[in-house]
Symmetry: C2
Subunit: 157 residues, 2 copies
Amino acid sequence: MSDERSLSPAELAAWRAVVESSQRLLTRIEDELRAASGLSLADYHVLVRLSEAPDRRLRMGDLAAKLIFAPSRLTYHIGTMEKRGLVARQPCPADRRGSEAVLTDAGLAALRAAAPEHLLSVRRHLVDDLDEADLAALTRIFTRIDERLTAARAESR
Amino acid sequence: MSDERSLSPAELAAWRAVVESSQRLLTRIEDELRAASGLSLADYHVLVRLSEAPDRRLRMGDLAAKLIFAPSRLTYHIGTMEKRGLVARQPCPADRRGSEAVLTDAGLAALRAAAPEHLLSVRRHLVDDLDEADLAALTRIFTRIDERLTAARAESR
DNA sequence: ACGCGGTATTTCAAATCTGAACAACCGCGC
DNA sequence: GCGCGGTTGTTCAGATTTGAAATACCGCGT
């Protein structure tokens, strides 16, 4: 707290630990997911979001927001998943500008096939290291950060 | 803890919170860094690592390990930074296979110019939300994850 | 009904990232 | 001293990601 233009060693250590470890964690878990299922983490997240959506479908924009993807990235990504038969793209009936991504049966099957190993992977590399208090702290901390970020984004419009 | 092949709702919530919020946090902080200084977060991290190294220089391999970059990515990235005059590349005297990345005066100046705003940004979006206990918890948790990952990597060789 | 500012998505080119294959070199053991 | 397995970086081609510009459409106000 000494200088507001800087960070204390403890603050810097926390920031660095988060940046580096989360990077390493994601990389590792993605590697394992890829090896076990052929899906990237992005593929997996697309499948999860669609599987949770009513009627297994979402507007491109909504899906992009949930995944934190730039619009053009989602267009491209859904394109590759469509080629593999994991999702389908359909024009949105209510709004002719829009389109929806729909989870196919094959996509749902791929998700179900990949999930157990993947969750095991998450458990092995993250959850098993944490006790209940850690878990709660992580959830609370990151949820709060997210809320603040979303609020800050709303302001800067 | 019910099924070892799955995750409890609390565990899943923690995992999702970490993945999404850290993603959003990084994106946001990178945007601000870019807007204020023209540096990407990767640029900034390269500069930081070099500035901390003895004689302001590091072997490509060591730098790549610190940054969690694939080798070819670092080659490319140092190439772009070299064009901008932020770093220089020199053959390694002790090992003729290797090369070293060296921080230039311009690179150091760029880092010093960018740091205050960037740290403010980190403070605003992360540190200000945390009390001392949170800070310590984050550091402890992510440091432990990192140790485990590094250990696991060593095994799978 | 019409125009118009705004929104949803795609397209395009350029920048970046990845992994496999390569070239040069190290140093150990024969 | 030589050869060989292992290391260090780079190169290359292809995949992904980005941001700006284009396209098509919405719905409000007139």
